[in-house]
Amino acid sequence: MTETTSIAWRDEDVRGFGMAVGGAARVFRPTTVEQVADAFAAVRAAGGSIALRGAGCSYGDAATNTNGHVLDLSGMRAVHAFDPATGVAIVEPGATIRDLWRRSIEHAHWPRVVSGTMAVSLGGAAAMNIHGKNNYVLGSFGDSVRAFDLLTPRGELVHCTREGQPELFHAALGGFGMLGCFTRLWIETKRVHSGRLRVWGIVAKDLEHNLQLLEDLRDKADYLVSWVDLHGKGAGLGRGLMHRADHLGPGEDPDGLRYFDPGLQEVPSTLFGVVPKAWLWPGMWCAVHLGRVGLVNAMKFAVGAREQRQSPYLQTHGAFHFLLDYVPRWQWMTKPGGLIQFQPFVPRAEGARVLRTLIEKCHAAGHVPYLGVLKRHRPDPFLMTHAVDGYSMAMDFAVSARKSARESLWTLCRELAEIVLTAGGRFYYAKDAVLLASSFARVHGEPTVAKFRALKAQWDPDRLLQTDLSRRLGV
């Protein structure tokens, strides 16, 4: 692609966050909307395809485009403005959740929806319509987007709001980058009265207890998330540690005033104040590769009882939310095979039965996820939504470098997916790496898929925007 001098494509190996999928692509990092438009025009003229990529935090192949082109938007990361009166921030797509909260917390505001890592780009968060630990209260990330500008593959810049362009608004949010590139987003944040949250750790003795806690606390708690020890068997199957966090009211935590300083919200970079956490992943690598994850989990579960006794305690927003940032490069513990995450969304009535079956199948197949995370969800108004009135359980699998083990893991995940789909469940494309094209319509329903394909044909008739994910699903 040499049509435009400002575009310098580079050959790179582009992978998902989990390192297990992806491939070689020609990458360009635009810094202006004009460069994005030029890149669109150039690749479209050549009959190629482009994947849009933010911070590269999707676990699977949502932001990879093997043998195609990739637009890496991390160079467009300005937070243009933040209005303390309304709590609305105006951002570029490559700005991250960290960039947003660092600006908003100074003014006693916190993003309404954040993921478990702050590295995620806001354009990516909108495209994948991510959720946080409060999905059952405030909905998904799309629910906190007030408006956006979308550059369509034909080079048209469309301003979308719920009222102005309702169809495109609800399809592009959660549309995994198939309809256009967000070039500017208006994102709502929430007023907080302290830089900290009140947090409880609650031991859940098995899966049913975990689910019961989610039901009992959902009307009271602002955030709920449970770590699940998927190595637990028998009476301890699905055991874990639930974390509940609540916002504080005016005057409830005077010292929380100091924590409006963004510098105090960062996740600590050292352990016990001295050991750099960037050094921890080799130790975790040993646990994964020597088969000691069950032991580590059992210890973590045992320590949970002490945390429960010490609850509630106060914790900064950053420390509560961004658990995945506690150990930099933790994903390297799964090298060389990498990891995949399987995150089914299951309707409430089927929750206990389906999730129990999934865990038992993992044990039977000998692929036990090293990490499980259970959350409560509610439906949202977006076309390609993954949310249900029910539960999700994220299951992280280390992928073996051996081909046969890798294939048996994919086979297992597809078996699990079948159980989930039969129960009316859904999947989330920021995580998925295994679904087949035959499952796409079963996740969303035929009419929804037909509508999405019609929108794709309308806004991207040349099928410029493609990813490994979109080809796998037959979008």
Partner: protein
């Protein structure tokens, strides 16, 4: 000298170190007059302090630190409205982007006005009151940048050096009469002013505020924040000029 119990003034308290100092003073139960130029920012931040504490401790006063003639009447007004002032923190500062080959008198004048003359105006107004009372504390937040003139920002360096020298003279005049004058020299700190500099190992503004108030409580004349900068700047101050002019630091 222990901290007092009267009203505090923090000049430049809508963001950064000044905001962190104002928050900590309010948390300690002091009445704080928060002064800044940007009215919206200032009012929002003062309201946030009062909201978090569920009582009114922060009182916003719009003030442009470059407006020297406004200082004396504003000081009088604050004392009239909030009671006698026994502590003043001068934290206002500007550091415009200056290209390596740029010599812009407009930018230079603003830095001298805000960083140096503003400090002098507030120092004088405080001294006039503290001297007869034989009590009070004036804290001026300068910078390690005031210890040497450097290629990047000659006038920022000069304005902070001028502030440093003025505060030393003021201290020598007042200390013998029971009035404390403390010069603070922060190293890299995470503030909106430095957000685009890509500083490494910058400390949070709240940590800087903690160390500033500790220096106040210990009655320090000059405090580097954090303390390691005293050693670093000792070395830098002693680099001979013939060598220093060849370096890019």
């Amino acid at each position: 000298m222990a901290s007092g119990s009267g009203t505090c003034i923090v000049v430049g308290s809508s963001s950064g170190i000044g905001l962190a100092v104002a928050r900590r003073l309010a948390l300690a139960g002091r009445k704080v007059a928060m002064l800044a130029r940007r009215e919206n920012e200032l009012r929002t931040q003062a309201a946030t302090v009062n909201d978090a504490l569920a009582q009114q401790r922060a009182f916003p006063f719009v003030h442009d630190a470059a407006d020297l003639d406004a200082v004396e009447p504003l000081f009088a007004r604050i004392e009239q409205e909030l009671g006698p002032v026994d502590e003043v923190h001068y934290v206002a500062g500007v550091m415009p982007e200056v290209a390596i080959d740029e010599f812009d008198v407009g930018k230079d004048r603003l830095q001298v006005q805000v960083n140096m003359l503003g400090c002098i105006a507030w120092g004088n107004a405080a001294a006039r009151r503290f001297l007869p009372r034989r009590a009070g504390c004036f804290v001026g937040v300068g910078s390690v940048a005031g210890d040497r003139g450097r290629v990047g920002r000659p006038v920022y360096n000069a304005s902070k050096a001028g502030m440093d020298c003025y505060l030393e003279g003021l201290r020598n005049r007042l200390w013998r009469h029971g009035v404390q004058v403390t010069t603070i020299k922060p190293g890299p700190t995470q503030t909106p002013m430095t957000a685009n500099l890509g500083l490494k190992n910058a400390i949070p503004a709240d940590r800087a505020a903690e160390l500033i108030l500790r220096a106040r409580d210990r009655g320090r004349a000059i405090a580097y924040v954090p303390g390691k900068w005293r050693v670093i700047m000792f070395v830098i101050r002693n680099i001979p000029s013939f060598l220093f002019r060849r370096l890019s630091i």
